[in-house]
């Protein structure tokens, strides 16, 4: 149902408070439920991104919206956290390290997404982008919630501000936008697997019944 939607909205709304609200949000949920919610949210974002990316790439125009488009990545603008890491290396990390990497990556991805051309594009595109950013913010908080419920410390401080230079021309910016969406896609795909695996490691929470009664 729409329970994760409500959850996301609540977390996104609470995000405006100075204190980290995720602790209040998920303390009562228990690790198992928390991970399930995060998994659900990741899948939802994956689905949303398909539509958003389709619309945005059409806005960028061909060849960006062609299926096999694969432009070069320019080293000097290594701003977007890359999800293409050696899979064995990734699996070899501790749960804590993997969660922290997810948290940091999505925080930065959110910043870049927000900076996506706000002026141009149709009103529909801007609206979709806005909605996606809200949902992504919910994911960041959700991951923080999972980490706190498992007793892991949160990665220190806010994500580093994008100090890297903005693309020097409009075409390069289009390529940056393309890669941002592509990386986001890969991250979400991999995170879903991560949370699915994590769910099986954590024993089912006793609080399950309590949640059901709340109608959540």
């Amino acid at each position: 149902g729409d329970s994760w939607g409500i959850f996301t909205f609540l977390c996104a709304a609470l995000c405006n408070l100075p204190a980290l609200p995720a602790l209040n949000c998920t303390e009562e949920l228990g690790a198992g439920q928390s991970i399930q919610k995060t998994y659900d949210l990741t899948r939802y974002l994956e689905h949303q991104l398909r539509t958003l990316a389709g619309t945005y790439l059409n806005y960028l125009g061909p060849p960006f919206n062609e299926p096999d488009f694969n432009p070069p990545r320019l080293a000097r603008v290594e701003r977007v956290p890359s999800a293409t890491v050696d899979l064995d290396l990734w699996r070899g990390l501790t749960d804590n390290a993997r969660l922290a990497a997810n948290y940091r990556a999505y925080s930065r991805l959110l910043c870049y997404l927000r900076a996506l051309d706000g002026q141009a594009g149709t009103a529909e595109l801007r609206h979709r982008l806005g909605h996606f950013c809200s949902s992504l913010q919910g994911l960041v908080l959700s991951i923080a919630g999972v980490m706190s419920s498992l007793g892991y410390p949160l990665p220190a401080g806010p994500p580093a501000p994008p100090g890297t230079p903005v693309a020097s021309n409009d075409f390069l910016k289009k390529m940056d936008d393309f890669w941002l969406l592509k990386e986001l896609q890969t991250w979400l795909w991999r995170s879903a697997k991560d949370f699915n695996r994590l769910k099986k490691k954590v024993p089912p929470a006793v609080v399950t019944l309590r949640l059901e009664a709340r109608g959540f």
């Binding site: 960028l60 125009g61 990545r73």
Partner: protein, 371 residues
């Protein structure tokens, strides 16, 4: 598998991200960086993913290839046409976004309205054609006629794509000048100036709590009641109302115009046993004593009600011909007798009482028939 290229840009295109008028021609050049060991003959161009014919290429140097584009059409997408310089194997070396379009036309048809004299919303239409192929920005500006300062509206798209909302700091009893500026990469166009006084374009909320109910057992009437919009109390304006109603499966609305400033009305001449949809709207007039009318509010949400259906079989018990006079006389006699019993003085005699009697009559007629 994508490759990460070295620090220098592989190639440079000139012009980079130009803006052009529809129909113009362009010669673009692609110069490869010496680090790449590519020659002009190793390159090719695409525009929006489509390869450009080699006949339009020219080698201007060992590492520079040009392409000639003639009579350009308007950009395929507002983010710019993608002109790309490729190496032989298809790899992208550089790109340039071409913005081909037209300067904007003067925005037209500016209409504004004020909700309860508190704010101002204006909408407009882009100039004829509208399609400039370039992203066009609209700015609504306003200033008091007798004072110099221009103000810019900030809240856009409140009432459709070409609209703006000014929420506060508006003066009354004094004219404003309002206009819209459209701008894109190719130029600016300014609409004609519209002059208005806020008090001349006032509208209000639709009436609330619209209730439609039957009038006893009367088959051809419905009674409509509503509350005046709350703002009426705060401001020195009166309200006049209009009702529209239609039968459930028809799209033709009937309008009742002479409702005046009452907050109730009776609809008559309706069909029995039919569902009707009713809406009410309000027009604030007499603002600060003026005789001018304002702008009609939106219609209230439709309320539905049905007229009762007679339970007598059609053509059953209606008295015919000469019998009618006797029936009428008898009815009148009965009526006055009943009035004597139930009406204390003539002041209570009115249509309501008559209705009550008719209802009573129908009820007692029924029981008489059932016996």
């Amino acid at each position: 598998p994508s490759f990460v290229s070295p620090a220098a840009d592989p190639a440079v295109i000139s012009p980079q991200d130009p803006t052009l008028l529809i129909g113009s021609s362009l010669v673009a050049t692609c110069t490869v960086s010496p680090d790449f060991h590519l020659k002009a003959e190793d390159l090719y161009w695409t525009l929006n993913g489509r390869r450009l014919p080699a006949a339009s290429y020219a080698a201007l140097g060992p590492t520079t290839l040009s392409v000639a584009l003639a009579r350009l059409n308007g950009s395929k997408q507002q983010s710019g046409d993608n002109l790309v310089c490729h190496s032989r194997d298809g790899g992208i070396l550089a790109g340039s976004c071409l913005y081909v379009g037209l300067p904007p036309e003067k925005p037209v048809n500016i209409t504004c309205w004020s909700k309860n004299m508190k704010d101002l919303t204006c909408k407009w239409a882009p100039g004829t054609e509208g399609e400039t192929f370039l992203h066009t920005n609209y700015t609504l500006k306003y200033k008091l006629r007798w004072y110099g300062r221009d103000n810019t509206c900030q809240e856009y798209h409140t009432a459709g794509p070409y609209s703006c909302h000014i929420p506060k700091d508006l003066a009354l009893f004094t004219p404003y000048e309002i206009w819209v500026e459209a701008s894109n990469r190719l130029g600016v166009a300014v609409s004609d100036v519209v002059m208005l006084d806020i008090l001349d374009v006032v509208t209000t909320d639709p009436p609330s709590d619209v209730h439609v109910s039957r009038v006893g057992d009367l088959e051809d009437q419905l009674s409509v009641r509503w509350s005046s919009p709350p703002a009426l109390k705060d401001f020195l304006f009166q309200a006049k109302y209009q009702i529209q109603y239609r039968v459930e499966d028809s799209s033709e609305w009937k309008v009742v115009d002479d409702v005046g400033n009452q907050t109730s009305c009776r609809l008559a001449g309706l069909r029995p046993g039919t569902v009707y949809f009713v809406q009410v709207r309000c027009n604030p007039f007499g603002i600060y004593g003026s005789k001018k009318a304002g702008i009609w509010s939106d219609w209230s949400n439709p309320t539905a009600a049905s007229t009762p259906r007679s339970e007598r079989a059609a053509g059953g018990c209606d008295p015919k011909g000469g019998e009618q006079n006797t029936t009428l006389r008898r009815e009148l006699k009965q009526f006055f007798g009943w009035v004597k019993k139930h009406a204390y003085g003539c002041s209570n005699l009115g249509i309501k009482l008559y209705d009550q009697w008719r209802v009573w009559l129908q009820k007692s007629h029924k029981t008489r028939n059932q016996v």
